[in-house]
Amino acid sequence: MKTFTYSRAESQSDAVQSAQAGTAFIAGGTNLLDLMKLEVMTPDHLVDINHLDLKRIEETADGGLRIGALVSNSDLANDMRVRTSWPLLSQALLSGASGQLRNKATTGGNLLQRTRCYYFYDTDTPCNKRTPGSGCAAQGGFNRIHAIFGTSEACIATHPSDMAVALRALGAKVEILRNDGEVQKVPLGELYRFPGDNPEVETILHPGDLITHVLLPAPLGGTQIYRKVRDRASYAFALVSVAAIMRLQNGKISTARLAFGGVAPFPWRVPEVEDLIEGQAPSPALWTQAADLLLQDAKGQGSNDFKIPLLRRTLAAVLEQATNGADI
């Protein structure tokens, strides 16, 4: 590991002001320290934000929740309000990592975790995300875990989070304290950038910007399902995942919210697919239409071609399961 200096932030303003280019905030550290050991990430300075007052889950006036960025993945998954009213989020959190990691990993850190692309982790190989301009070894290499949506010539990596997929389907926003003191609230989908020519820039955050909270809107109700397909039953990243919130009224789908993991550089959502489904009666033919629309721009890279039919089947299975009951 490269050397670095270390300081503790005592307040949010202290944190953002003490951060400069080359500074990293450390919260749970489970991803950052892993990458620092491999010298994939080499910050000059760590600002420890664990002592900031961002560990609470508060109810908001509009019936939603304001989740502090330092709330651990365990505490968020186990919160009875979340388990009862936003079960999609608990399901997604509990499907990720291990008990030990969920105890350390934080809400803000989970959103900002880096891809698990093998070549990003291997400093002996080219990677535009790790070393801009060096090339992409995943294209033409082993790419069975890589993206089928939103890729660029520079990068085909996926975002590995389960939690973020659920949050995108739930319509969550991210509250950011900007380096200049401004507070900004952005929909989760707008936090992330497409890789384009600069895959090393993954979010709209600038050095010193701090995610302080995640905002959940009022519960959507309905049937909520997070289905994760992976190489083993536990403690593995998603090959594909589907987050679904479905409500039925008078035999028709009144609300459909869908997000997809393991397939794109950030949690993927295609509102046109939701629009197609809403107002229709559930049927296998409708699931086929939805999958056709979702997958029309999907692009396999060779070893990950299987993700296209796998996502088609997983989507159909989830939609069938979510609507296979009485009106909700």
Partner: protein
């Protein structure tokens, strides 16, 4: 830099490089070698310890981040002469072969049983709003962060199942 760590109810003063992981601080600086280094990347669980009662991977955190925290290692859970109930149960069920992963398994299971007592659900819990009984499927899921390369899993699960039955 200096850190003050509270480990197994004793205070330790540490003069260390900021890069020192909590795992390396325990093993290399303080001689608490019961905690094992396996992968050093949070994948195997051999380094599992308890911080403020919760299980974590000590390889993926820095010693300097734990100034003031209550740390419990396997040395604080039991001794050869005075084993914890869970440790005795592991022996009764022959829940190990080489033993290298065992301190991590014991620390992890000790905390996991407490999580279950507090009603935490898991990925395999059918009803998220209810507490789950610790079935074999629940135990396996909740212990998936601890690998055993000897594959003593059936006996590890049996030992934990017995403890869960006795404490529920």
């Amino acid at each position: 830099m200096q850190s003050k760590l509270k480990i197994n109810n004793a205070e330790y003063h540490l003069d260390h490089d900021p890069r020192t992981s909590l795992l390396d601080a325990l093993r290399n600086h303080l001689g608490l070698t019961g905690t094992k280094k396996g992968c050093d990347h949070g994948q195997c669980g051999a380094c599992t310890i308890l911080v403020n009662g919760r299980r974590i991977n000590s390889c993926l955190t820095l010693a300097c981040m734990h100034d003031g925290d209550e740390i419990t290692t396997i040395e604080g859970i039991g001794t050869p002469d005075e084993m914890s109930d869970l440790q005795s149960t592991f022996i009764d069920h022959d829940a190990f072969q080489c033993g290298y992963c065992t301190p991590g398994q014991i620390c992890s299971a000790t905390a996991m049983l407490e999580e279950a007592r507090q009603g935490w659900p898991s990925h395999v819990t059918d009803d998220l709003t209810q507490s789950a009984d610790l079935s074999d499927a629940e135990i396996s899921e909740r212990m998936s962060g601890n690998l055993c390369r000897c594959s003593a899993y059936p006996n590890i699960v049996a030992a934990i199942r017995q403890m869960a039955g006795e404490t529920q």
